[in-house]
């Protein structure tokens, strides 16, 4: 009698099936994750001196992601944020970004790095081809330089050159009206301080040609004491002072200059003053410091912007920062682009993103645009005003004119050899 093998499931395949079954019972998220949620990776600075800004970036992202998820998610898939600390080190930012995509399976990247780290993450995006939106780097060259251009990267941030044009033209207006011809500058001694101060004085002199810079001070970043800088400026007797000191350095400087009554002796233009991180910390904020808007909930003075600022404060018990609005805007762009593309595919979203205009509380006219040719944010609310020591801190902001910005930006790009 011969035994013939009965047709059906063999022992081997039964074992394999059982194994797979056991796996899916033990690790159900493997199957579910790919179908339902979309992971977005975000390297940002969560420790060290600028941790406050990184945290405020994460907070803003979570505020918006919760809204998107409640409304059905990104093209039907719930967003799962994976936020990692880069400690502000570029090489760490690049490593984290790569790991987020390769190991954690993130399909999109929000790059919450400052300028130094953003270029490193940009290279990772170039290498992996993953869709990446820079949310904190203000360095103009990141998008203005055609060498940096890649189809899958965007910048949803205010830009250094825009700020310089608006600041220069605003300051020139005041300089002409008040006859401020002798200027001093005092900015931190590193790339940002040098570049920003150079661009500001470039446009200041362009709009007010008889302005002369008679004294320059370059204190080092995070210097505890500015007394010698303050007295040096007092000796030079300028009529106006420009500074791009920021954060704790700026508040130290103000406290130390205050007791020399510096603010009564000259007009002060401090581009980074009108940010809640500095405004709420300085105890004796002098009246009448000119500043660019970083983020304040009263500019643009719309109910949407005020409501957003209040909602953020209600959730996190502090006011948003300049980094917050930029990160929130990035999520708004993603949501709108995914809806239009009806997909979470990075390539398809990128195609829609280029040239996309969305409604946004931080737009100069209620909308912001992701410019198509260089993938950078334009149309955001940008302006200068003077401070008062209590809320709303900057009661009136003079809006920058985007037509002028575009003209001068094009000229600047040409002079740099970018176009």
């Amino acid at each position: 009698m011969t035994r013939t093998r009965t047709p059906g499931i063999s022992r081997r395949s039964t074992l394999a099936l059982m194994g797979a079954g056991a796996m899916s019972v033990a690790a159900p998220w493997v199957a579910r994750a790919q179908a339902k949620t979309v992971k977005i990776g975000m390297p940002t600075i969560l420790s060290g001196r600028v941790a406050q800004l990184g945290t405020s970036s994460r907070n803003a992202v979570m505020l918006e992601v919760d809204k998107v998820n409640a409304a059905g998610g990104l093209a039907g898939r719930q967003i799962e944020m994976v936020v990692r600390d880069s400690k502000g080190a570029p090489q760490e930012a690049a490593r984290v970004a790569r790991e987020l995509v390769n190991t954690d399976g993130c399909e999109l990247l929000l790059d919450g790095e400052a300028s130094s780290g953003s270029f490193a993450v940009h290279e990772v995006a170039r290498d992996l081809g993953v869709l990446c939106i820079h949310t904190n780097s203000e360095a103009s060259s990141l998008t203005a330089d055609p060498k940096q251009h890649i189809p899958n990267a965007f910048r949803c941030v205010r830009q250094g050159i825009h700020d310089s044009i608006v600041g220069g033209s605003y300051a020139a207006g005041i300089a002409k009206a008040k006859g401020l011809k002798k200027w001093a500058t005092c900015s931190p001694d590193y790339a940002y301080g040098r570049d920003t101060t150079g661009e500001f004085t470039l446009y200041l002199k362009r709009f007010a040609p008889d302005v002369e810079v008679i004294s320059e001070s370059w204190p080092k970043l995070f210097q505890p004491d500015y007394t010698e800088v303050v007295t040096k400026i007092l000796q030079a007797k300028p009529q106006a002072l420009y500074s791009c000191l920021w954060g704790g350095d700026l508040t130290s400087y103000i406290d130390q200059a205050n007791i020399y009554a510096m603010f009564a002796q000259m007009e002060v233009f401090a581009v980074n003053m009108a940010d809640y991180t500095a405004l709420t910390v300085v105890k004796n904020l002098p009246k009448g410091i000119h500043s660019g808007n970083r983020y304040i909930k009263t500019y643009p003075s719309t109910p949407e912007n005020a409501a957003w600022g209040d909602a953020y404060k209600a959730k996190y018990n502090e006011y948003p920062t300049n980094w917050s609005w930029q990160n929130a805007t990035a999520v708004m762009f993603l949501a709108e682009a995914a809806k239009k593309a009806n997909s979470t595919d990075g390539k398809k979203i990128a195609e829609v993103l280029a040239g996309l205009t969305i409604k946004c509380p931080f737009g100069a006219d209620g909308t912001v645009t992701m410019r198509g040719d260089d993938h950078t944010l334009v149309g955001y609310a940008i302006g200068w005003g003077t401070t008062i020591p209590q809320e709303p801190y900057v009661p009136e902001v003079k809006a920058g004119d985007w037509k002028t910005i575009f003209e001068l930006e094009a000229e600047w790009k040409k002079s740099k050899g970018y176009t």
Partner: protein
């Protein structure tokens, strides 16, 4: 280099007054930190790398007390007393265990506490920078002396530091405790054999050093922003001061600190891009010509 500005300043009384007081302010705060460092080294033979933390705690203690009580005097007291207690605990619990140990071991323990103290501040007060605010009494127009600008708060600051320097100098050279401390620095074994509790002296000296750094932090709090890690840059400059003045010498710390202050204030006029460099250059010159520092032989 801008030598015209420097010579212009040296011939103008207004500029001379402003820059000299500016140098004194920087120097006196530095002295308070550096003298603690040098005192601890002189008696305990330990390079207290974590000394900057006491400056930081002094500032935070003062800020919190000021915000709670609105009293500037209490704030200064809290800054000084709080760090004195902290110094005593730190010395008795941790530092006293590594006295005989390798220098590297002592350095590692101190460095560990630099990181730990920074994180403690971050946990209690948060990572963001803070500001204490100038007391209303000092929010007045600066004084004009011979055309130079001198803020009243800085006069107080220089005065307090000067009093501390004098009390410390006289106390160590004349009082009985001062003599015991100097004896302990010289020959701890003999002092111990005479029935004096050297542990108590060590703890006391450490507390005194911490208190002076804390006082410096408290005095600086109204004009400097407070962040975790703020002690570090002050510590580096204090090391320069002690190296210039001579490790273990109080007079050296005073002279070194004032020299650094004046180099900064006048250097920023004549050599705006090399002010930091001037400090180090001066240190190198002193080290080469007199390796023990200007007052190195006078052990405290």
């Amino acid at each position: 280099m801008d030598l015209d500005a420097l010579t212009g300043c040296l011939t103008s009384s207004a500029c001379l007054v402003t820059q000299t007081t500016s140098g004194l302010i920087i120097g006196m705060l530095l002295f308070l930190v550096a003298v603690g460092l040098t005192l601890i080294f002189g008696v305990l033979k330990i390079v207290n790398f974590s000394h900057g933390a006491f400056y930081m705690f002094g500032a935070y203690f003062a800020m919190t007390t000021y915000h709670l009580t609105e009293s500037f005097a209490l704030a200064m007291l809290a800054g000084a007393a709080g760090t004195a207690i902290l110094g005593l605990i730190f010395e008795r619990v941790f530092m006293s265990r590594v006295y005989g140990a390798d220098v590297l071991m002592q350095l590692l323990v101190c460095y560990a506490f630099v990181l730990i103290f920074d994180d403690v501040v971050r946990l209690i007060w948060g990572p963001e920078f803070k500001s204490m605010g100038m007391p209303a009494a000092f929010q007045v127009m600066p004084l004009f002396i011979a055309g130079g600008v001198v803020p009243p708060y800085y006069l107080l600051l220089i005065g307090v530091a000067l009093v501390a320097a004098i009390v410390l100098g006289i106390g160590l050279s004349r009082s009985r405790i001062g003599k015991v401390i100097r004896a302990a620095a010289h020959n701890p074994g003999m002092v111990s054999a005479l029935g004096i509790n050297t542990g108590l002296i060590y703890g006391g000296v450490f507390a005194l050093g911490g208190m002076l750094a804390g006082l410096a932090g408290a005095l600086a709090a109204p004009v400097r922003s407070l962040t975790p890690g703020m002690g570090f840059s002050v510590l580096i400059e204090s090391f320069i001061v002690t190296v210039i003045g001579g490790m273990g010498s109080i007079v050296g710390a005073l002279v070194g600190a004032l020299l650094i202050g004046l180099i900064r204030s006048f250097g920023s006029l004549g050599f705006p891009l090399f002010t930091e460099g001037l400090m180090y250059l001066f240190m190198v010159i002193v080290l080469v010509s007199k390796p023990t520092g200007l007052f190195g032989k006078e052990a405290a």
